[in-house]
Each structure stands twice: as C-alpha cells, then as structure tokens.
C-alpha cells in the first residue's frame, strides 16, 4: 500500500534554531511531491512542488529538497511566525490525486 510518513510528529524550536522535517514515501510512479503549511483553523497553504530527485525549491526561510524516496523541508533561522503544521503530499496519478502525510507540528518560541 502506498504510504507517506512524516517525521517528527512535533518539533519545538528556539527562534534562530535551524532544523529539518522529513517526508518519506513508498509510492511508485511519483509524479510530484508537494509541501503545504497549515495554520490552526485554516486550509492548507501551498508552498512547493518538487518533480524529480535532486530538485530544490526555496521560499524565505524554507527550502525543500527531494531524493528518490524522501523529501526534506529545511527551516533556516526560524521565527515565531513559522509556527504551523507542515504537510507533505505525493501525487502518483495523472488526475491529481494526493496522498497526504499526517504532518509535522512546528512551534518556534522567541
């Protein structure tokens, strides 16, 4: 069965303390891997799409990378406003079906 696993489940960081989140998958025929940010009470907000192994995307303090079986979301020098749940999803069909991981809840304290 296709699976998407995110780790850790929760992460508590001091402001400025860089860290990485992991998303591993067993999907065959990957068409794309997506990262989302979700704030409490809101819908997921699109961050990045990664297509192929070796690809990297950056946005402010966030950088996403992709290998053949996992992706990392690096948070560099985080600020309290980076506190959120980060979701990873993989796409393996031609019509956009996404399989989501359970998410990593990140809390950044001043």
């Amino acid at each position: 069965e296709d699976q998407v696993t995110q780790s850790p489940e929760a992460l508590r960081l001091q402001e400025g303390e860089s860290s990485s989140l992991n998303c591993s998958y067993t999907v065959s025929g990957l068409r794309g891997l997506f990262w989302y940010r979700q704030d409490p009470g809101k819908g997921p907000e699109f961050l990045f799409t990664l297509y192929s192994a070796g690809e990297e995307k950056e946005k402010e303090r966030l950088k996403a990378t992709l290998t053949k079986k996992e992706s990392f979301l690096h948070i560099t020098a985080p600020k309290p406003e980076d506190s959120a749940t980060y979701l990873c999803a993989v796409q393996f069909t031609s019509w956009g079906k996404l399989q989501f991981g359970a998410g990593t809840q990140v809390v950044v304290t001043p």
Partner: protein, 112 residues
C-alpha cells in the same frame, strides 16, 4: 488566494439528518476535490470532479455523494449524517501542469 469559498463555515447537525456543503470557485478550474481532515488521519480524499457532471470516488467515499452541475460549484452531501462524519471538510481546486492543489478555508461539521 485561488478564489475558493466554502459554506457554511460551521455547522452542527443531528444524527440522521441530511447535510450539504458547498464549494464555490471563481476561476473556472476543471478539477475540484473534497477532503476530510481528522486528527491522526491527515487529509483524506472523499470525492473529486474533473468537469461538470463528471465525478468519481476517493478513498473514503462511503456515506457521501457529490454533484457538480456548474463549473464553479461542487456540492458534498451527507445523505444521513453520522457521528463518524464529524470532521473538518476542505474543498480544493487543481491548477497547472502538475495539478497543484489549492484549498478553501474549510467547514467544521459536528454531528451530535
């Protein structure tokens, strides 16, 4: 902002009553999706649509039906609500060559 609205945003209903949730988009996207989000399960696909009157099931479709009579509206109906359908429901649209999905603000549904 992908121009997606959901209504109602909150609803409390009783077991056995029918409930319809509405997703409205303003940008003429072909693909639309309904998900539910529950603690410990993440986001799971209920149904999706690939055009007017064209819909198909996702992984958790039992107890749900959908309709799409206009491009801009995608309706999710719980024919007879059960407590297990208490959840937060998100609508999404897909755009771009890789069907990047953008989500609405969600509807929190409580079935008592």
């Amino acid at each position: 902002d992908a121009g997606i609205t959901q209504s109602p945003r909150h609803k409390v209903t009783e077991t056995g009553t029918p409930v319809t949730l509405r997703c409205h988009q303003t940008e003429n996207h072909r693909y639309m999706y309904w998900y539910r989000q529950d603690p410990g399960h993440g986001l799971r696909l209920i149904h999706y649509s690939y055009g007017v009157k064209d819909t198909d099931k996702g992984e958790v479709s039992d107890g749900y039906s959908v309709s799409r009579s206009k491009t801009e509206d995608f309706l999710l109906t719980l024919e007879s609500a059960t407590s297990s359908q208490t959840s937060v429901y998100f609508c999404a649209i897909a755009t771009g060559a890789l069907y990047e999905q953008y989500f609405g603000p969600g509807t929190r549904l409580t079935v008592t």
